[in-house]
Symmetry: C2
Subunit: 286 residues, 2 copies
Amino acid sequence: MNLALIGVGLIGGSFARAVRAAGRVNRIVGFDTQPEALQRALELGVIDDIAFSAAHAVANTDLVMIATPVGGIRAVLREIAPHLRSAAIITDVGSTKTGVIEAARAELAGVFERFVPAHPIAGSERSGLEYSHSALFRGAVCIITPSADADLNALRQVESLWNDIGCTVEQMSSEEHDRVFAAVSHLPHLLAFALVAQIASDKDAERKFAFAGAGFRDFTRIAASSPSMWSDICISNRSAISSELRTHRELLTELQRAIDEGDAESLRRIFQQAATARRGISVSVE
Amino acid sequence: MNLALIGVGLIGGSFARAVRAAGRVNRIVGFDTQPEALQRALELGVIDDIAFSAAHAVANTDLVMIATPVGGIRAVLREIAPHLRSAAIITDVGSTKTGVIEAARAELAGVFERFVPAHPIAGSERSGLEYSHSALFRGAVCIITPSADADLNALRQVESLWNDIGCTVEQMSSEEHDRVFAAVSHLPHLLAFALVAQIASDKDAERKFAFAGAGFRDFTRIAASSPSMWSDICISNRSAISSELRTHRELLTELQRAIDEGDAESLRRIFQQAATARRGISVSVE
C-alpha cells in the first residue's frame, strides 16, 4: 500500500513512522505547507518522497492521510478531490469531527463514502515532527466517526491500520464525539490558556510565575499547546464548546457568589462532588 | 528541643518526620481532632506521645507547629494561648497567611511576636498521614510572612528548621503571599474543581470521563484535593481569590464572545500569549 501524508507534524509523522514499522505501507509521499518540515521528514526517513502539492501527493496512492490542523482540512479536500484514484481511501486525524465530515461531504462528491474520519486520543502539548515517534499511538483509543453511507471496506481498512499500530478503535457519531471532547479536552485547554494569559497580563506576572508549584505546572501544561491548532478547534467545534463554556461560566458565577458571601458549605459541596468524581474515574489514556 | 504537633496530616506528619530525621527535635507530642490519625501517628513513630488536647500538647514544649486546615487555626490558637511556655515559639503551615496572622494577633496577645507564619510550597492532591514522608520538603520553597514586630530569634529558629529539612526560605508580606497564591494555586484549584463538578453533573458523565486523556488527567489532578481544606482556603483568602476569579470570568466572557462570533484571531492572540508565557517559565517547585 502507498500512503500520501498531507501534514508532517507530530500526529502525521508518528502515524507514518508507526504504519511503516508495522509493515503496512511500502512507500510514503508527503506534502506540507512548511517546506522545512517536509525536507526534515525526508531526511529522517519519515517519508520517501516529497510532493510539490497535495494534489501531486495523492495522484498514485491507495491511502490518503490528512494530518493538518482541522482548519486546513477543507482546503486540502478541495484540492485533492479531482486527483484521487478511483479506489483511494481518505482519512484524517482532526480533533473535531462534525465540521470535517461536512467539509468532506461537500468537497469529495463521488468518493465521500470512502472518507473515514478518525481521531486518535494521543499527542501532547508539544507539536511538530521532531517529537513524532512510532509508539505514540500504542495503547491509545482511536475514535472513528463514520457516516451512515460509509464504505465498509474503507472503514475496515482504516480500523485495521489503527489496530496494527496499537490502538483500540471505538466508533461513535461525530456529534457525540464533539460533545464528549468539548467537555474533557477543548474546555480544559481553553481554561488553561485563559489562566496563564490572565497571570501573564498581570503587573506581578514574573513574581507569580516564580512561585508556581506542582499543581500549577500540571494544570497549565496544556497551555503550551499550539495556539493556531487550538483556535482552529474552537472554531470548528464552536457550538459544543460554546455550550460547555456557558455552563462553566454559570458554575463560576455560583462559586463567586459563595466566596463573596463566605458560604463555605456551598463551596465544600461542589468541591466534594468534584473530588469524589476525580478520585473515582480511571483516566483511560496515558 | 521538644515539639508539639497539632494536626498529624500530610504536612504535619512530614514536618515531624523531617525535623526528627534532621536531628532537630528530641520529643514530639501530637494532637489531632481525629483519634485514629493520632493513634496511627504514634504507631508509625511520627510522634512519641499523644496529648488529650491541644492545650495539653503545648504545656511543656519549646516549639508549637500548627498543621491543621487554615479554618481550624484560630480555634487552636485560642485554646493553647493560656498554656504556652513563656519562651515557646509558635508556627504554622497554613496555605493563606493574612487571615492566620490576624487570628494570631487576636488570640496570642503577649506572645504574638513569637508567632512565625510559614507556608511550605509542597504537598499534593493526596492528604493524610499515610502519604507523609521526611523528604516532602526537600528542594521546596518555604515562604515566611513575619509581621513587623516579629521576634528575631523566633524567626531565625523557624527559618533554620526549614533550611535543615531541605527548604529555601523566602520572606514576603502576608498580603503579597495571598495575592500570589490566589493566582497560581487557589484559582487553579477552584477551576479544576469546577470543571470536574460540571462534567460529573452531566447526564453523559460516565461516557465523557471514559474518553478523558492525558491533558484532562493533568489538568484535573488537583480536583482530587481535600474539599474541606480548599473551602477553608477560599474563605480565608476570599478577597484575593474573589478578585482573581472576577478577572478570570471577564476573560472567559471575552473568549465566549470570540467563539460565538467565530473570531479566530482573538482566540489565537490570547492562546499565543499563554503558550509563550507557559513555555518560557521555569516552574520552580517540583
